[in-house]
Symmetry: C2
Subunit: 580 residues, 2 copies
């Protein structure tokens, strides 16, 4: 593929030893931060004009997150995608007036060449997998903005969209391709790189866009892609437009999308102010969240603090903005998940805990539930939904610890239900100086359908896969304080050790988890967390990701003679032809 080859060939001596060294180097992994805002973007421009935003990709070649590669041809690395994630989030919270988003390119004749190949070639297996996971979550977030928030994304392909570039377009609600005789959409991963399109392309081609199965096969094996009328005929894009008609087509499509949107007319956005985060050794403190790493045990304990008070009204919630507990806590949890995933791979077990008053969590939840038609409340709820889905796709063992002083109600109980197991103390810690009363948990609508997992099912339905009666009995207990005995009877917790057994039992669980193969745990957890029916989202994480992980390890892709490593060198990959 001419365009993607140019991506690699542009900056490197294609055959020289410098490139080979770059390819062999497993670059030292930097600490990854997800802090950014539009004033700091290096790769994107965000412009808002009335009800339409334009997000322009214009990747800085020298702006890679890690040394060793240049981001030619609007190719991207994790750093580019961190900015995209930030922009998609801000559009939802800071711009309630925006009903349509145009995703386009600032480069000439190239929308986006996809993930940067020299970056992939030099990256460790774990880095590649984590990069793909985050980019997938961001693309799912784009679809979620259209489906749940009335912000419709138009991929305005003013040049070729290849690989991850076309997959980004596939995540948009509509795709418009310039008809200039050369610009194409393409998935060149299989023919050129010996890997799969890693951000949902295969799944969305058939399950979202309804491309005929044999044409999907032809398309995904045609490096140069498909352009013009054929791209429309094959459903790869929705429309094409000549270059001179392109702006008018963009305007027409965005206006139509905006007209369909239920976004409010004159609402005032909420600024997503910088998170306050202070790290002292292995302890990181946010306003409402603390993470503590125990490296010997291989655990991170996440302590989410409940709200100090409940906003008196919807107006107060709006006035509090990013400082309001439900939004601030979600942002902090999201950030903590992303940072722990990217920076602490050896911390294999996360202990999920809370501190506070369950009644306050329930009251704050009740305020949200009473005003769920409000755009900001809706955004907060959808953000919790997406953050909980990040937990579902996190390759760590998740254990909820429910002890006196905790506040596992509604929104926060859902964090416990996302865990692989739940341990709840039966009674009090008698040796505490001033023992807190026994913990209770409380269900509300956040647990019975408002925060569905990727499959569209509630975590109660996923918990009781074969038993609607059990899921219904649990749901019927909503609104009541449930003791450990109640919770055990309803099947909402795994074990309810008492004071005498608690410390030993939790220690054993943690030690046991740390003694198992991390890879086997990841595979097992992914199978149980995605029980039940499937959607494109669950397929992307449960199936596509697993295949890609496999392929990323195979010598045909990642070996010294594999396609990823030889890409851009002018040498063809040397494949072991045996099928597995």
């Amino acid at each position: 593929m001419q365009t993607a080859n140019a991506q690699a060939a542009g900056g490197h001596p294609p055959h020289g030893p410098a490139h080979a060294r770059a390819a062999d180097r497993q670059a030292a992994q930097p600490e990854v931060s997800f802090d950014t805002d539009p004033s700091r973007y290096r790769h994107w421009k965000l412009a808002v004009d009335d009800d339409t935003a334009t997000l322009t990709m214009d990747v800085a070649e020298d702006g890679g997150l890690v040394p060793g590669y240049e981001l030619k041809m609007n190719s991207y690395d994790l750093g580019v995608d961190i900015e995209l994630y930030d922009a998609v989030q801000r559009l939802r919270f800071e711009h309630p007036e925006v009903r349509a988003v145009v995703l386009t390119s600032g480069k000439d004749r190239m929308f986006c060449a996809g993930a940067n190949i020299p970056m992939l070639a030099q990256s460790s297996h774990a880095w590649k997998v984590n990069f793909c996971k985050f980019t997938n979550e961001t693309r799912n977030g784009i679809e979620d903005a259209t489906a749940c928030s009335g912000q419709s994304y138009l991929a305005a392909l003013n040049g070729t969209a290849a690989g991850g570039g076309y997959e980004l377009a596939l995540a948009c609600d509509q795709i418009l391709l310039v008809d200039d005789g050369s610009s194409a959409v393409a998935l060149p991963e299989v023919p050129l790189l010996g890997v799969l399109p890693g951000t949902g392309g295969l799944t969305r081609l058939v399950d979202k866009r309804g491309v005929r199965r044999d044409r999907a096969d032809v398309f995904a094996t045609t490096a140069e892609g498909v352009k013009g009328a054929k791209a429309v005929d094959w459903r790869l894009v929705d429309e094409i437009a000549a270059a001179r008609d392109f702006p008018a087509a963009v305007a027409r499509l965005t206006q139509a999308a905006a007209a369909r949107s239920g976004r409010p007319a004159r609402a005032k956005g909420i600024g997503l102010t910088p998170l306050r985060r202070a790290t002292d050794g292995d302890v990181t403190r946010y306003d409402h969240l603390r993470t503590e790493i125990d490296r010997r045990a291989g655990t991170a304990t996440l302590v989410i603090a409940g709200p100090a008070a409940t906003p008196a009204s919807l107006a107060e919630l709006h006035a509090d903005g990013a400082a309001s507990w439900p939004l601030a806590a979600a942002r902090e949890l999201d950030d903590a998940i992303l940072r722990l995933r990217a920076n602490e791979p050896a911390v294999g077990t996360w202990l999920l805990t809370t501190e506070g008053d369950p009644a306050a969590v329930a009251a704050t939840g009740a305020l949200l539930l009473a005003h769920r038609g409000d755009w900001l409340v809706n955004e907060i709820i959808q953000f919790w939904k997406r953050t909980l889905r990040r937990l579902d796709t996190t390759s760590r063992s998740l254990i909820a610890l429910i002890t006196p002083g905790s506040c596992f109600a509604g929104l926060l109980l859902e964090v416990a239900l996302a865990a692989d197991r739940q341990y709840m103390l039966d009674g009090i810690f008698t040796e505490d100086d001033d023992p807190a009363p026994p913990a209770v948990i409380r269900l509300d609508e956040f647990n019975t359908g408002l925060l569905p997992a990727g499959s569209g099912r509630s975590r109660l339905q996923i918990r009781f896969p074969g038993s609607e009666p059990e899921a219904r009995a649990a749901a019927a207990a909503a609104g009541r304080d449930l003791t450990a005995a109640d919770a055990a009877r309803l099947g909402l917790v795994t074990e309810i050790p008492d004071d005498l057994d608690w410390a030993d039992e939790i220690r054993l669980v943690v030690e046991e988890r740390a003694s198992f193969s991390p890879d086997a745990l990841t595979g097992m957890e992914a199978n149980f967390r995605f029980a039940g029916p499937e959607t494109p989202e669950t397929k992307i994480f449960g199936r596509l990701t697993a295949w890609q992980n496999w392929i990323f390890q195979r010598p045909n892709a990642a070996g010294p003679d594999g396609a990823l490593r030889r890409y851009g060198t002018g040498q063809r990959a040397d494949y072991d032809r045996r099928r597995v």
Copy 2:
């Protein structure tokens, strides 16, 4: 786990160099044959008593398919499973009177210890993957016998069922466990072996048996498993019975299952006579099927011959038995698929063709359709269904070639629709001495729902994932001879080159396919073939298998210090603790 450890420790010096050598050896792969019958079984006993069959697993320790391991404790390898597959098939065709099948063990206190670990440790990655695929297909076949054929399987666990042993039980309709204070069900793969249960255990636990998600996590990380009343409470088994009550419980459960069955009362079975197969170099000939391997091109051409004549009546079909075309052709295709998969891994592209009279195929199909309530006709139809599903799960590129003289109608057209692409000649081969008339294809009920893929959808629905109208338009053309132009208009074929272009186009397709990474093709094809909704069956092949493939390659499992290689040595695996 005591029992599974005994499996490995029994025959090998647990720490000695002999074991280490066995583990390091990649055993030379024998040619695998699937020919067997009950008189030749080494590992199973099949006994039929009125309407109940008993299939007793009694694995011969020295009966491994490959040298280098002993099949202790009713552990199994591919050879054991080939016999099981044969028995399950014969019960359906040779024993119409059988309504319930008891699966039990001939060993004391051990039902089955699962796949043999030293075998896995010494096997190549490809061998492990292919072994798991076949065992999964056999277990799906057991479920299919219950669902579609009225033969209900009871797992009568007269001892511990561990790993693949318990997964075999999970594939049965009901599970009865002896309550003797020690016999348990267990999935020790994650805690002991650093891999996943590879034959559907994780999926069936939650999606079939409805085990609560957190309990599934506890169970699948508890090496010693669960026994007694807790196993019932957790839904891991349906019933328990003390040893003295065990035979009575088996009788009660099988009688109840038999009473629910719709199998015929006094039907006469069809003997599955040995297949006639002659190999001459790279050509293998069956009565109705020929396979030709072109090693340079990396292709196998499968030529299925249509029926010479159509049985005059249902009675004639019964009288012809295993010699009747629809049964014989399915058996030959099944055998060819299995043999090519196991023995020809470097042959990456299969060209699927037919020879004969489409009207004869359609007429034979019409006879089957007219008598689909007949037990034998039903078995033949279900066998075609399963054989086509084997194509779906085959890790080879499948290209259907539709040329003059072919007979792609109904049953055989479904072979083409299972392919990744379909090429149909538009017109005739003008340079032939006596050119056959242009090819036609013809749809009938076999294409519109009678042979669903693993997802439960027809291959027409899978072909047109986003377009019910297109699937309906194609279905509406059933019964008509469709020319290449018709087929192209209906979207039933990928390309319709004419005589001038045909040879070049097919050559290019084959060369192109051979130039791609076999691993990337396998992943891509699996994603497109399993478009649309999912079932436990599609999850097993599309998701679980992909995760297991990944894990099977990871150093934590397969490396020199990994769990699979260290199993039975007394040394713990040394894990890289970083999560990916």
